[in-house]
């Protein structure tokens, strides 16, 4: 064995969730067919194997859905829940829906989507932070599905709440299948269907209500109300959280690749290929499950009929056998199909819409905020067994950015020398910690000839002690309580409105820091 630790992966572990890619790589190299005893499932991780799993629909059945917990519970859904069916039932409904959700219809929403982005982002211009999820990703996809279906705006927010709660899992735990089965009926859409029945328009719902449908038995008829309900609930569930996650990953990955982000600002024509690379690099749905309908062999081992198989799309998309240097993010990568939308007969029916939403969202963000940095202290990864992404992704923009602060730390020498040296005031402190920039705010004032102040960061504020300022040198001590109790000692040189120096953080070690005075 080339690795000292045992190879382990499951879709629930919060630790793995943070960064599954090292585990994926080890699976691909050392356990291309992996069996997880604890949760009793198999997994394949190489591109060719995942693609095969998605293609060979008779062996890898969708009859119990694509979510591990549902497969293990052997859930049976009604015919119209066609995502969770095999041919010929799946074929009949998919063909019907395909006629209604065409790329052209999806792309026709571009102007409406752009207007929504502008409404969401314009009020944020001029502030020093915003949240990719709270301010955009959480709301936009359901609004867009609403636009597609023709749902009035005020009903769209309630829909998002309902579908997301169903698919959410508690950290580290599998999904409660009974809860999701009970909720798959999608009561939220019922009133809308009834209203649209008597108020036809040119939207998708009207088309679902009025088009001829050749059912699995070969009869030509209209879709029943319960069928439409189950179809639109599924579409909403599939397209809502995933697209929101794509928007979150856009914020996260581009923050970490500022050079490529600058290229996109300069040349927005590169944005579609950047979205494609994001879908490869951080697919919102990193694992798709299938029910193994008959014995099947992978790498010399038999997977018995009746097993649950996880197809690790997130791993396949980084397989070096398929993508040169797969673990690196590169918007100039040679375009080559990835498995971010799945593959085969169940491939995402809304991929054109997701690509459109990703592109328009990024275009509109970059127009207003060409640079940002993630506030990891307040960012939160969401946990589900099917979708991985940010529940909250606050970012610093404009003057709020640590990098903006850091750049000011090297002002022209003349300007710095000319600036008055007064340490009183509020300072934005950036500590170049082991896991990236950490931010704090330092307030300093002279009280009866003694330097006093407070420091805020990591969600807490405490008074500083032992503060001194002599001959251009400043030092102070901050006792933090979050994320742990620690004595943190700062020593630096003040030049004009900047401080640079070293911070000693207890047992954690010493790091560089800079601070810039708020003017």
């Amino acid at each position: 064995m080339p690795f000292s630790e045992p190879i382990y992966w499951d879709p629930y572990s919060p630790e793995i969730l943070k960064n599954p890619y090292p585990a994926f790589k080890r699976l691909r190299e050392a356990a291309p067919l992996y069996y997880n005893e604890e949760h009793d499932f198999y997994a394949v991780s190489r591109y060719a194997d995942v693609e095969r799993g998605l293609k060979e629909r008779d062996t890898f059945s969708s009859v119990h859905g694509a979510i591990l917990e549902m497969i293990k519970a052997q859930v049976q859904m009604p015919d119209s829940a066609f995502i969770m069916q095999d041919p010929p039932v799946h074929t009949a409904y998919r063909a019907m829906l395909q006629r209604v959700i065409t790329p052209r219809r999806m792309n026709g929403l571009e102007a409406q989507i752009r207007a929504f982005c502008a409404r969401s982002l314009d009020p944020l211009v001029g502030s020093d932070r915003f949240d990719f999820i709270a301010n955009l990703g959480a709301e936009m996809p359901m609004r867009v599905i609403g636009m597609l279906l023709g749902i009035p705006e005020e009903d769209q927010i309630a829909l998002r709440e309902q579908t997301n709660t169903v698919l959410r899992t508690e950290a580290g735990k599998p999904m409660d299948v009974s809860l999701s089965e009970a909720n798959m009926g999608g009561e939220a859409f019922e009133d809308y269907i009834d209203w649209r029945t008597t108020h036809p328009s040119d939207d998708m719902m009207t088309e679902l209500l009025t088009s001829d449908f050749k059912d699995p038995g070969g009869n030509i008829r209209k879709l029943r109300r319960d069928e439409i309900l189950s179809i639109v609930t599924m579409i909403a569930g599939a397209g809502n959280e995933t697209t929101g996650r794509l928007i979150g990953w856009t914020g996260k990955v581009l923050a970490e690749h500022p050079d490529q982000r600058r290229e996109l600002v300069k040349n927005p024509a590169l944005i579609p290929q950047a979205i494609e690379e994001l879908l490869r690099f951080e697919p919102p749905g990193p694992a798709i499950a299938r029910y193994v309908a008959r014995d099947v062999e992978f790498h010399g081992h038999t997977v018995p009929a009746g097993s649950a198989m996880m197809l690790l799309v997130g791993s396949a998309n980084r397989d070096d056998r398929r993508f040169v240097d797969g673990d690196s993010f590169n918007i100039h990568r040679e375009s080559r199909p990835h498995l971010g939308f799945g593959h085969g007969i169940h491939v995402c029916i809304g991929s054109a819409l997701a690509r459109l939403e990703g592109r328009v969202a990024l275009e509109e963000v970059l127009k207003r905020f060409p640079e940002w940095e993630v506030d990891y202290q307040h960012a939160e990864l969401a946990s589900t067994s099917t979708v991985r992404g940010w529940e909250s992704l606050p970012v610093f923009v404009g003057s709020g950015r640590p990098a903006a602060a850091a750049r000011v730390t090297a002002p022209p020498a003349a300007a710095a020398a000319a600036a008055p040296v007064s340490v009183e005031g509020t300072w934005n402190v950036v500590i170049k910690g082991p896991t990236g920039a950490m931010l704090a705010t330092l307030m300093l004032e002279w009280v009866d000839g003694v330097l006093r102040g407070t420091q805020s960061g990591q969600g807490s504020t405490s008074p500083i002690t032992e503060a001194r300022f002599e001959n251009g040198n400043i030092s102070w001590v901050n006792h933090t309580t979050k994320p742990m109790k620690m004595k943190v000692e700062f020593k630096g040189a003040v030049t004009g409105n900047t401080i640079s120096g070293k911070v000693k953080a207890g047992f954690a070690g010493s790091f560089a820091f800079t601070a810039v005075k708020q003017l």
Partner: protein, 106 residues
């Protein structure tokens, strides 16, 4: 072995060997021809293998099925000679067929 000439929208050409019986889409994907995606694997349900078949070849192809014309109807950049290449199986008579690719599949 019959050959297919794919011409990307930017003019780049790819001349590839094709197995008889395999679809034009699968041949492109197997040879990593950029510009053809084939997300659905040939089920005629994603319209990401869209290509333009030159007129002199068009009448040698089997006529379009209802599914194909329905998918193309909602696709982007459609022209009168548009086809979904997953619906074209290679035959010896198609040796040399020229397939131009659209500016984008989505």
């Amino acid at each position: 072995m019959p050959k297919i000439l794919f011409i990307e929208h930017n003019g780049r050409e790819h001349l590839v060997d094709a197995d008889v019986g395999k679809t034009v889409m699968q041949t492109a994907v197997d040879n990593m021809v950029p510009g053809i995606i084939g997300d659905c694997g040939g089920a005629c349900s994603c319209a990401t293998c869209h290509g333009y078949v030159a007129a002199e070849w068009a009448d040698r192809l089997a006529p379009m099925s209802g599914d194909e014309s329905m998918m193309l109807d909602g696709a982007l950049h459609v022209e009168s000679n548009s086809r979904l290449t997953c619906q074209i199986a290679m035959r010896p008579e198609l040796d040399g067929i020229v397939v131009r690719l659209p500016v984008s599949q989505f």
